[in-house]
């Protein structure tokens, strides 16, 4: 393990560690553009210069591996002058787009200029002009003038997705990022190039001109788009509700997790939060098409479920529900005495899967639903509903008409029920048939945990307030349990997690604390 000194501080690092990472471990920032820990070394921006003892000139840190006895200085006058020079070189042809550029506030030209530049610009000649506002596929917008040609996006498409759509054409200061003319940025991870672009050359089309980043708040979360459970940050706009068309969730960004998604996020997950602020959100409890208070709704649910024999009551839980809520459903099923509980609804189009992040199972919590023991035969439940053996059915989340089952079968099954209860975030055709519709919070509006396909339990945090009167499913179920006479002692999702960890072997010993920021594997 090489031991080296940076700015007078000694540190031992793993072999193969470059100086940017070694310095980072000491809390020392070495500014850089083209370096990215998930991509190959480019050594093009020339910003990460450091002074190394015995080296006649400053050296780039990204391409220098820590060596035993190395003495590195990042704060010498020479390094500072070099950084200032490199900042000037980067800004020579850069357009003064800040007032109209989405990157403002999180732009590394701005940030590093303030820290390492602060010179008076002296470029008075005409700057090089290149194409602006060029769509690259459905999600990404290119401004070639703003591009600093760090090549991160090109390397991403070559090394991570293997699709090679992007290139740097021509040469000299005529160099330009672009697609092969006539082709599109077609891979399923195109949004990642926006993350890794240090400047406003590559921006999100759906975020374009919506809201300034300094108005955004953030919460750590997990993407619910598939069973991978990519770690994300949810960026929300609470402070400027008149921006972004009133959407509270402004965007999702990947959060680094070495074991799950590294730095990346697929487009479907990244851009799949639209339902949260959509007009189809259910916001108040509804009974027989009339809005009612929660107490009334809960009372009616309890009555509807309680007046039948146990196996005449069915529950279709959702593998989109968090661990805590699934545990609550299990307790409900036990309290009702029914074994007619399932969660698997076959999708109309089977999901696709790849070697990178995307899982065919488009649900974030299938693993937990299995482990918690909710894996009954939903097709059988619907058949029983059709034949009148099941009289009351509580459906969580699913719109059964979007499944692989025949719409006519679903209609007959749901139509035969005495009571259909729907709990979910957005209205659909199943909720339209329901006697009782109970609004659930979206995952960004609450906390909880998901268990990914490998059995990794990960926490997500609330980013915004629940919409309208929506409640988390664990709370809705808990209130019903309370009315059924079972002590409803849970006032937080965590209480349900405690119940889960105590009673389901796979989760034994886990706490919210032990899960931490990177998750914990089930037994």
């Amino acid at each position: 393990m090489p031991k080296l000194t940076i700015d007078g501080k000694e540190i031992e690092v793993a072999p193969g560690t470059n100086l940017i990472e070694a310095a980072r471990q000491l809390g020392i920032e070495i500014p850089h553009y083209c370096y990215h820990p998930g991509l190959s070394i480019a050594g093009q921006c020339r910003l990460c210069m450091v002074d190394i003892e015995k080296a006649p000139r400053p050296t780039i840190a990204c391409n220098t591996q820590a060596a035993d006895g190395m003495v590195v200085a990042t704060q010498t006058e020479r390094v500072k002058e070099t950084q200032r020079s490199i900042m000037e070189f980067h800004l020579i042809n850069h357009p003064l787009d800040c007032p109209v550029c989405d990157q403002a506030g999180e732009c590394w030209l701005q940030i590093y200029y303030m820290k390492y530049g602060l010179y008076d610009p002296r470029m008075v000649d005409e700057k090089v002009h290149k194409p602006k506002a060029v769509p690259l596929g459905p999600h990404v917008m290119l401004d070639a003038e703003r591009c600093i040609l760090c090549s991160r996006c090109v390397r991403f498409c070559d090394e991570i997705t293997g699709t090679g759509e992007l290139g740097i054409f021509h040469r000299g200061d005529q160099s330009e990022i672009g697609l092969f003319p006539g082709r599109d940025l077609e891979n399923k991870y195109s949004g990642n190039v926006v993350d890794i672009c240090p400047v406003g050359a590559l921006t999100d089309r759906d975020f374009r001109f919506q809201v300034r980043v300094w108005y955004l708040d953030t919460a750590k979360s997990i993407c619910p788009g598939c069973a991978r459970g990519c770690n994300i940050d949810v960026h929300v706009n609470r402070r400027r509700p008149h921006h972004a068309g009133g959407k509270r969730v402004a965007r999702l960004k990947p959060r680094f997790n070495a074991e799950v998604n590294k730095w990346w996020l697929c487009d479907e997950g990244r851009y799949g939060y639209g339902f949260v602020d959509d007009a189809s959100r259910v916001t108040t409890p509804v009974w027989r098409s009339e809005p009612v208070p929660w107490d009334t709704a809960i009372a009616e649910v309890t009555r509807a479920l309680g007046r039948h024999a146990p196996d005449a009551v069915g529950v279709v839980a959702s593998p989109k529900m968090p661990n805590e809520d699934l545990m609550a459903v299990r307790r409900l099923a036990e309290a009702l005495g029914t074994r007619q509980v399932g969660f698997k609804v076959p999708p109309r189009t089977p999901g696709d899967q790849d070697d990178l992040l995307i899982r065919a199972d488009k649900n974030p919590n299938t693993r937990a639903a299995e482990l918690i023991g909710l894996d009954g035969d939903v097709a059988g439940i619907l058949t029983a509903a059709r034949s009148g053996r099941i009289k009351a059915l509580w459906v969580f989340g699913h719109d059964l008409f979007d499944s692989a089952w025949l719409e006519s079968d679903v209609t007959l099954a749901l139509g035969a029920l005495e009571t259909l209860i729907f709990t979910g975030t957005n209205a659909g055709r199943t909720s339209a048939l329901a006697h009782l519709v109970l609004p659930a919070t979206a995952w960004v509006e609450r906390d909880g945990t998901f268990t990914n396909w490998e059995g990794r339990v990960q926490r997500f945090r609330p980013a915004v307030e629940p919409l309208g009167e929506a409640l988390p499913e664990w709370d809705i179920v808990g209130r019903v349990l309370g009315m059924l006479g079972h002590a409803a002692s849970a006032t937080r999702a965590e209480h349900w997690f405690v119940d889960l960890a105590a009673n389901v072997e796979a989760f034994r010993g886990m706490t919210y604390q032990s899960i931490g920021e990177t998750g914990r594997m089930t037994q």
């Binding site: 050594g43 020339r46 391409n63 002058e81 980067h90």
Partner: protein, 421 residues
Amino acid sequence: MTEKILTRNFDRADAHTLGAYRETGGYTGWEKARTMEPAGITEEVKKANLRGLGGAGFPTGMKWSFVPKNHTGPVYLVINADEGEPGTFKDRYLLERDPHALIDGMLIAARAVRCEKAFVYIRGEYVEPYRRFAAAVKEAYEAGLLGDGLDIVVHRGAGAYICGEETGLISSLEGKKGWPKVKPPFPAIKGAFGMPTIVNNVETIAHVPHIVNRGAAWFAGLGTKTMGGTRIYSVSGRVKRPGIYEESVGITLRQLIDRAGGVSGNGRLKGVVPGGSSAPILRADEIDVTMDVDGLRNAGTMAGSAGVIVMDETVSIPEALMVVARFYAHESCGQCTPCRESTGWIYKMSERILSGHGRKEDLDTILDVAKRGAGTTICAFYDGAVGPYISYIEKFRDEFEALVTDGAGTRARATPAPVAR
């Protein structure tokens, strides 16, 4: 009179044929080298003080010795025939008039570095030289000189000066843009196609058979203490007899200009660029320097590719700056930020100065930008560019000041110069 070694056959009409080459002692160096140990060949080349003649002047034997001894895979020898340094044309002659000399040298060099496959990268514009050399390679295969121990692949470039930089050349050989590679690793360790690679200039390799034949001491004695042999000077510009001149590396610049007939134009020397356009210019009072690597380095310039460009007093240095600045802006590969952005900017400023819209502070801006960028780039292209940027302005400042306004350095935007490309 210096003995003609490299240029001895140049005036024979059939010099490029195998028959003619053998007649004048060709391939005897290779015959002798075949009996030598590879390390022994390298030692001889080291003792001869042969230095790279493409521009960098790096000791050739030392470069060969960098190939890792314990490497078990292929080692590649790559000949840099991408001659492109303005003012240089010697390799064109070697390829056209004595291609077998290069093959002869390659056989020996390949043995020294244990290479079985070599590449010759010829600039795309050199069509006739390419045909001559390819024909010579064919003759060599037919004569059994090649194909039994060494294969040569002749590869044409497609028009980019930066492919003369050894790792830019390697990138181009690999089928990519001619982007130089970040170093380390150095080519001798990891070069073309990921293997140890030795890149040598045409002329450098052409010397090797003579070194083997006549000995390192002889070769070293032809030159100076730190650089052996002769080299072919390309002399052009305002001289009476522009052309190639093979002389000792110890000749002085003054003597060389005399050999070329002396200054033309108005007959009075203003300045000389001694080593291709990337070499800082020397004033008329600075030409009593020996043309070897150390001699010119000590004079604040460089031996480079030995492209000697003579300028008489009627030459406008600000115009010359615009011409070379245009060249560097056009040839910058664009990979790294300092070079990509400032070569274009400095060219624009040089045009603006000529157009009469320059300001005094622009001269200091060019100098400052050049000095800040030097040493920060992936390759030495930019260091070559700053050679003229800095030396033309510093040594001929009065010519520039005559063109610029005595500005108060206002921040008001100067009239933009037309972007000529």
